[in-house]
Point group: C2
Chain length 524, copies 2
């Protein structure tokens, strides 16, 4: 995810060196795999395609390596799939000896639009420094070069900005040295017989793989870092695919390695050049530390890690409970941060209430097994919060839970009430039916929120509808040619961006890879 | 120099490996010297200044290192003098942890105009790849970086193109690691008592030093390579200042290492990534191989090198003589290349006749000492060519030598007739006087041509006028703030560029450093 900006430079943060040392010791080795160009394409305007651009095959790779490029020419290379790695190329001069530097510009696009629509027109509010480009000035030819930054692309545009009139440029090699910490060598077979689900699973696994580096990144293009909310979903998919449990463990220790003075875990972590916890704090993400730990312990039975991290997990519960008002409802306020979904108008009170109950239930699972002293308190709080939700948030007239002073009705609120197991199974089931038949104005914007909707459907045993929602939503991205799943997707507004430009959206985003978990876990 | 473009990719070139090995063995070590920022300046429009820009002191270096730069801000750093080297800097984030790459743009200017007038407006015909800039995207902060290319600047502009709203950028160190193969440790004192000449000498030596790298470069910004015509003047100044004779020797061997099939030496040489002689051939430059060799032997008495290179020098004489018509005059034609001066309208026949006679005289000096078999032939040819010049080119009516079919009268023709010692000393003297009193339309455009004019004045013992011309011409560059001498300078048109843009002119150019030779050799 990327969250709207908090600025909390004044906050005191505390380093926990033993935790950091554990995390560093778990730094994974990266697997390298060379990916070569599959063809040269030209971009053609086509209103039927995502962002209005179609890639037509323009030349073969053989032709590309034979072409003498003149100043001002360009080429768009198609690597055939979404890649994360380092560009290496070699080129030489054709014609007279090169009597001036060669000025090349490389533009990397997860989508065709990124290499066609000029970055100079970008006016989004996220930093333009995320737009993937590099100008190179080659003083000597022939030249072999490896660009030092890691890029993320399916398409690579090379603009031959300037040569001299005495020579042309010819490429003699070009590849991506792709990297990931995910090994697919032992990938369990996808059990589904449905061709579309098989393809969705394949793309979801590719998405996860391309987000796995020395941490679980949210997106390899942007923000390229560890967010707790993304980690939670990645870890689930990891459990049924790559099974790199050490990486999940490392990420848990990274969050534990630097916390706010009061013990709250940060929403995200930077690891280079040194570990820094961001000064962004989110109510829901901090609570998810409990959930990630519970799921990790459930699958690994790593009780040593549980022993080390339990008190920090518990601290998140305590801090979250401090936000609960006397009436048993999470207090809403204007200066409050909970993520839930990328939606400017969404009121997050009810959904946050749901997250709190959900995470207390996860804590209860751990407490029963490991710290029985906490069991009765947790049981009590869960009952109290559920009853409060039912009493304070349920609106019999609309048949929905409301949120905030304005009594907003949103998808997110209903979904999280179900995931929190508020109300009888029957009531949860009918609530989700009503959500479909009477869609509220405040819809879902991200695969992240859609994940929770599908999870809620599965919780109430609506297997068929869950499968259909996956096919409709993730399947629509496939139809648009996705070979990794996107950070943002609204089928009605394919250009939607909460950042003010589709160019800065991430098109390989961790929180979108969960169909693999649903398909494999629930045998869809 | 930079010559208009010849394209001779079809020509067969021959490598001479023993010559190349000699040249490589003489590759010089480079001296390194750190140069630190002297201040921060702002550019102010001022019609009185060169290119219309004045540098006003805006802040101290201390302030620069304290400043927190926001996205969109920029700074212009003044290094206090012209430098050639590698930029190293370190920077860190201020504010929240950096949550996006930092996009910085570095623009290097020998002149203030280069860092103020946008490169995007450049429309000259030389490659824009020479314009010195680099965009850097820093994924991690703090960051220490050394830009891989060598730059040439007095001014450095840093544009902080993009950060995020969560952090600012602060520089913690910044310097240029300057390089040269010239040691000034043993620099002989300048004998002149004239303050202005002392300053001109100082700037000329700085110009030579900044052009001395692993070869004598024409200009460290552009073309950054070994041209024979520039080498010839650099070697003279080297003789009375730096005395790096091995570098002159290396350059002679480089020209000898790869020649045209018929033995003609190229006008210029590339040395990286491997030695390549350019496919540009110039009548005058090839002949100057003889002159450089003669001057080198005169000062070093290195008879071994003379023995190895004499036959190649002689070959240049033979090839040049092939271009002489029956009437004893170098044939003119439309497809012919002789440099003489940067002047679109200049007819080069008469001046080339002068260059030929001048170089035959230099060959005669060597032949008398080393190869007496050639003496009588040379004496004969020199007499014949001089007589022909007098007979065919002298125009009694105008009192000038003419050139080409159009009987063009130019400064260059007169100057080279004097340097060729055509006519009596008295006639040469009065010719130069007439050149001053009746200036022809075709004037001189470069310090290179101005050098030959001053040399001609000194040849006829016009010491005072020679001194005055140096003071007027090179002194005017000083008044404009030059701390190295420029490739091009027309006092009447300070923005003149034969390339279509002053931004691409070289402002530290080898052929402009010869005042030191005049001042030190002739004790001005």
């Amino acid at each position: 995810m990327s969250q709207a900006l908090q600025q909390n430079g004044h906050l005191q943060m505390v380093r926990h060196q033993n935790m950091e040392a554990k995390a560093q010791a778990l730094t994974p080795a990266l697997f390298h795999h060379d990916v070569y160009p599959q063809g040269v394409v030209s971009a053609v305007q086509d209103a039927q395609q995502i962002h209005g651009w179609r890639a037509d095959v323009a030349a073969s790779v053989q032709d590309f390596f034979k072409q003498d490029f003149f100043q001002g020419e360009h080429v768009i290379i198609d690597f055939g799939k979404h890649c994360v790695g380092y560009l290496e190329f070699a080129c030489e001069a054709a014609g007279s000896p090169p009597d001036a530097p060669a000025h090349l510009q490389f533009i990397f696009g997860e989508t065709l639009a990124e290499v066609v629509e000029p970055f100079s027109d970008y006016s989004g509010w996220l930093s333009s420094s995320w737009l993937q480009q590099q100008d190179c000035y080659l003083d000597e030819l022939p030249h072999h070069m490896r660009l030092p930054r890691r890029y993320c692309c399916r398409f690579l545009r090379i603009n031959v900005v300037a040569l001299s009139r005495k020579f042309q440029l010819r490429f003699t090699s070009l590849k991506l040295d792709t990297v990931t910490s995910a090994s697919l060598a032992q990938l369990p077979t996808c059990s589904s017989n449905d061709k579309q689900l098989q393809r969705i699973d394949e793309v979801a696994v590719h998405t996860l793989k391309n987000c796995m580096h020395d941490v679980f990144e949210d997106g390899p293009k942007r923000d390229r870092r560890l967010w707790l909310g993304d980690l939670r979903l990645q870890a689930l998919v990891n459990d049924v695919t790559v099974k790199n449990y050490d990486l999940v463990k490392r990420c848990l220790y990274l969050f534990a390695a630097m916390t706010r003075e009061d013990g709250m875990v940060s929403a995200n972590i930077f690891v280079k050049p040194q570990l820094i916890a961001d000064d962004t704090f989110l109510f829901d993400y901090a609570l998810f530390f409990v959930d990630v730990l519970q799921e990790y312990v459930a699958v690994t039975d790593d009780r040593e890690t549980l022993a080390e991290l339990w008190s920090l997990a518990w601290r998140q519960i305590e801090l979250a409970l401090e936000r609960v008002a006397q009436n048993g409802i999470v207090r809403d306020s204007a200066d409050w941060w909970s993520f839930i979904d990328w939606h400017e108008e969404l009121n997050k009170q009810a959904a946050s209430q749901g997250v709190l109950i959900y995470c207390l239930s996860k804590a209860l699972i751990l407490a029963r097994d490991y710290d029985v002293s906490k069991v009765s308190l947790l049981e009590e709080k869960i009952s109290w919060l559920k009853a409060a939700a039912q009493r304070e948030l349920w609106d019999a007239q609309s048949g929905f839970y409301t949120s905030g002073e304005s009594q907003q009705v949103s998808c997110a609120s209903q979904v999280w009430m179900v995931l929190a197991d508020v109300g009888t199974p029957e009531k949860q089931r009918s609530l989700l039916k009503r959500l479909k038949s009477h869609p509220p104005k405040i819809q879902m914007n991200t695969p992240y929120m859609m994940h929770h909707y599908v999870a809620a459907l599965l919780q109430v045993n609506e297997m068929e509808q869950a499968t259909q929602e996956i096919k409709n939503y993730w399947g629509a991205m496939l139809e648009y040619g996705a070979d990794t799943f996107w950070e943002l997707f609204d089928p009605k507004r394919p250009d939607f961006s909460p950042y003010g430009s589709k160019l800065i959206n991430s098109y390989c985003h961790a929180w979108s890879c969960t169909p693999s978990w649903f398909i494999r876990k629930y045998l869809l």
